[in-house]
């Protein structure tokens, strides 16, 4: 349980020792409270249970299993996705022109409207699926599976950014500065990528490391200011977003810095071939080496958070900075280190954009809102590394599918934002989902023991 690499960990005095097996940075009191109720129930009324046990036959194994399935976390997640898709379907249906037309004579021929609703919704969601997982309309398997690789490509920066935000969350910090960190990282990596001549492999590595350092330092400003002066990291990271945006915009339109020679557009030249991430599945697919890097990053973040002594101190600070300080942890340094690592991860997102996805030169819009999407990804992933990984895949699928849905069915891609945010909301509030689907509450596993005495019952 205690960390072997951390000498102080085992000997930490009581108040400073946080729980080691906390997986979720943001606790849900709603999920915790019922368990306490169970405990109180069982311990508080021993006589009552014995008596109730005599009257009520023990629940069958099937019943127990069914109960476990319906109260588990997995069912909540699935239902949350379904519910969000349902809301999306309603929005698609109500804004569809054919549905609006047929609604005019709904009472004369209701079938028309129902058919139109079915048509618009199923068409949109089929396009979403075919754009993100597998396209059945293609002849060969390779062509059919292309959407899945697109999903992974879109997921790459989302996962990297999500990991960065999640790591900061675990240390109790809110890094809204993903945009700025991505922009700085992208600029550094891009500048190395088009401005230098280095052999294949080395060039990519130098650009990657340069980008990571750029992102890390940009976020490190916020960490350092928080540690040294107590400046709130939310303000500083928001401000640094704007500073980075204008700085990069200026460099992009200044010849000799980032602007492509002989051009007047605020855009960089294309990356050199030696710096571009190699594609993983051949030239007909967009999936690039960045995805491997993101998997590695997930493993590294997992290792840092749950296996290293640094991660132990991170989580201790995140749980309770005062207690951590009492336990001898240098809280200030933890803030700086956490922001450096968080910035490097968001930097990875920026680098993968520049060297992997958009290699023909970039503009100030290279971050594509990923810095903010990353916050949602981290929240959906409950700030755990693998949770963030899966959340990033899901959001990547929505992004890939959203574009094909917009192209094929004319449904604006913003519907994806609505569905995504609803999923996060519903997953964060299991009691709401349970109420909507009339699922049993996990607290009701034991039948409530009637709090009545023998005499009352007899009457």
């Amino acid at each position: 349980m205690s960390d072997p690499q951390h000498p102080d960990a085992a000997g930490t005095p009581g108040p400073g020792k946080p729980e080691l097996d906390i997986d979720v940075a943001i606790e849900e009191p709603g999920a915790v409270a019922p368990d306490e109720e169970i405990a109180a129930d069982g311990a508080g009324a021993p006589g009552g249970t014995a008596q109730a046990g005599a009257d009520v036959p023990p629940p069958s194994r099937w019943h127990t299993m069914l109960h476990q399935i319906t109260t588990g976390n997995a069912i909540i997640s699935v239902l949350a996705v379904l519910l969000a898709l349902l809301v999306g379907a309603i929005m698609i249906a109500f804004t569809d022109e054919r549905v609006q037309e047929t609604a005019g004579y709904f009472f004369a021929r209701p079938g028309d409207m129902l058919f139109a609703i079915w048509d618009s919704v199923s068409g949109a969601y089929a396009a979403l699926f075919q754009g993100s997982v597998y396209n059945f309309r293609r002849d060969t398997f390779l062509a059919g599976i292309r959407p899945l690789t697109e999903t992974l490509t879109f997921a790459t920066p989302l996962i990297a950014g999500g990991l960065g935000v999640a790591l900061a969350f675990r240390v109790g910090m809110f890094n809204i500065g993903g945009r700025g960190q991505m922009l700085i990282a992208a600029s550094v990596a891009g500048w190395i990528g088009f401005g230098f001549d280095l052999p294949w492999g080395l060039h990519m590595l130098v650009a990657l490391v340069g980008g990571l350092i750029g992102g890390a330092l940009w976020a490190g400003i916020a960490g350092l200011l928080k540690a040294r002066t107590g400046a709130h990291e939310v303000i500083v990271t928001i401000m640094l977003n704007y500073v980075a945006f204008y700085l990069v915009s200026w460099m992009l339109r200044t010849p000799g810095l980032l602007q492509a020679p002989g051009s007047s557009n605020p855009k960089t030249p294309a990356m050199k071939d030696t710096a571009i991430f190699p594609s993983l599945l051949g030239p007909q697919f967009n999936l690039h080496f960045g995805f491997i890097l993101v998997i590695l990053a997930t493993v590294v973040v997992w290792w840092i958070l749950s296996r290293s002594s640094l991660g132990f101190r991170f989580r201790a600070v995140g749980e309770n900075p005062n207690a951590a300080r009492v336990a001898g942890i240098n809280v200030r340094n933890m803030y700086v280190y956490a922001m450096l690592i968080s910035g490097a991860l968001l930097g990875l997102a920026g680098v993968s954009q520049v060297l992997g996805t958009v290699t023909t030169g970039f503009t100030a819009g290279i971050d594509a809102g990923i810095g903010f999407d990353a916050i949602t990804v981290a929240l959906l992933g409950r700030s755990t590394p693998w949770g963030t990984f899966i959340a990033g895949l899901l959001f990547g699928a929505f992004k890939a599918g959203g574009f094909s849905m917009q192209a094929a069915e004319g449904v604006p891609i913003e519907i994806v934002l609505v569905v995504q945010s609803l999923i996060v909301l519903f997953i964060a509030a299991p009691p709401l989902v349970r109420t909507i689907f009339r699922l049993p509450d996990p607290a009701s596993r034991r039948r409530p023991v009637p709090n009545v005495s023998q005499e009352v019952k007899v009457k």
């Binding site: 200011l225 401000m239 519907i415 996060v424 964060a428």
Partner: protein, 429 residues
């Protein structure tokens, strides 16, 4: 006998209880940095010529004459004054005294004067236009920061300000376009902001979801909803649904003729006048009424508030809804406040700037309003200077407010403490 008993009474503890003055060198250091900045401008980029400050507009009743100063002497004078202020603050701190707020304000005005003189050398600065535009740009920020202050004071972190502004802007545009009544649009915007606030309240109070999560997600949700309906419904029927009428300017008869102040403060639209009222009401309400006392008690120590009979969760719910309505009202500035059609994500991060103003203003409605005004001034300064044609690349001018904020937050504000129970759900045990 009695003497021996009384002897321990004046114990050494009481005698040594001296008032400890915590001195901070942050202000002198920040002052020194800004003075050096001004010095760098004067040394490395000297500007010849004169700078004119235009203090009144053509239509004013009382005309003030223009003030013209020679650029470099004025800048050097400013630098000397800045250096004196820095030295004075250093003396204050070394003699264990606080740097007063007025010194910071004077320093800021001096620095701005020096900078403007340098940046607008050889041209005229329309002071009225600069200040008027600053106030206009600050309107949504002020409404947003009021909403943030109320929310956090009652114990619910409101990151959804951006969403509430956007929802307000959208609803105001649609309703005002349909009815041709900007007032109805204003009411609808308040309802829309309130609905977003209620969702925030329900999820954070009833379902105990982390308030930061709900706030961030609500922003995304509102951006998604408004952009979706914009593309699907508003864009095809722009004539019917997205041509909002605008609020007319209502000059207040006498006040609007006061030099400088009149044209800036009293030739505004209804949205701005409502803002003055809102700032005053929130300030008085928070600190001088029963409502405010209860609100702050709930935000600082919900258990204690519950003990004396205040319904914690009900207070939180309705105040978060109220905050949402205020932010929604601020959203009207973007559409019917300025007569512009709704567009996707048209708030462009104003909600986050408002959030920064809340923290910068230390959860105080007046200070948050001043912080919002600072942001408004800084963004309008860039507009003004780009018209005049300043030697600095426009990106750096645009960057300036944010850099100044970082310096100010790190140097002057430092560690701030929000309401104790903000962000924590109250579970009655």
């Amino acid at each position: 006998m009695s003497a021996t008993v009384q002897q321990p009474a004046p114990s050494p503890e009481i005698v040594t209880l001296d008032t400890t003055v915590v001195t901070s060198w942050k202000a002198p250091i920040a002052f020194a940095v800004f003075t050096l900045l001004a010095l760098a401008l004067a040394v490395f980029a000297p500007q010849d010529g004169e700078t004119t400050f235009r203090l009144s507009t053509q239509s004013d009743l009382i005309q003030l004459s223009e003030i013209t100063v020679p650029t470099m002497p004025a800048l050097w004078t400013t630098i000397v004054l800045l250096a004196i202020a820095t030295a004075y603050s250093a003396v204050l701190v070394s003699s264990k005294r606080r740097v007063p707020l007025w010194l910071i304000v004077v320093f800021a005005i001096l620095f701005m004067f020096g900078f403007l003189t340098w940046a607008a050398s050889g041209a005229a600065i329309p002071v009225i236009g600069l200040l008027f535009g600053s106030l206009s740009l600050a309107v949504p920020l002020i409404y947003g920061s009021l909403a943030g202050v109320i929310g956090e004071r009652v114990g619910v972190i409101n990151i959804a300000i951006e969403g509430q502004l956007l929802a307000g802007a959208f609803t105001a545009a649609v309703v005002a376009s349909l009815t041709r009544q900007p007032l109805l649009g204003l009411l609808a915007a308040m309802v829309a902001g309130m609905l977003v606030g209620m969702v925030l309240a329900v999820f954070s109070i009833k379902y105990f979801v982390d308030q930061v999560i709900v706030g961030v997600v609500l922003n995304v949700l509102v951006i998604g909803l408004t952009s979706f309906f914009f593309s699907q419904v508003l864009a095809p029927n722009a004539g019917l649904l997205n041509t909002p009428p605008r609020f007319e300017r209502l000059p207040i008869p006498v006040l609007s003729e006061i030099p400088i102040i009149g044209p800036v403060l009293f030739r505004q639209t209804l949205v701005v006048y409502l803002m003055y009222v809102a700032v005053a009401l929130v300030y008085v309400g928070l600190f001088h009424t029963k409502w405010g006392l209860r609100l702050r008690a709930v935000g600082e120590h919900p258990q204690a508030a519950d003990t004396v009979g205040i319904k914690v969760n009900r207070t939180r719910f309705w105040n978060v809804a109220l905050a949402g309505a205020i932010a929604g009202l601020g959203g009207t500035f973007f559409t019917i406040g300025s007569g512009i059609a709704f567009n996707k994500e048209m708030t462009a991060g104003a909600g986050f700037i408002a959030l920064a103003a809340v923290i910068f203003g230390q959860w105080d409605p007046i200070k948050a309003t001043l912080a919002a005004l600072l942001f408004g001034f800084a963004s309008n300064l860039q507009n003004t200077l780009s018209v005049i044609g300043s030697p600095v690349p426009s990106e750096f001018m645009l960057m300036l407010p944010y850099v100044v904020t970082i310096f100010a937050v790190a140097g002057l504000v430092g560690k701030v403490r929000g309401p104790a129970a903000a962000g924590k759900p109250y579970i009655k045990s």
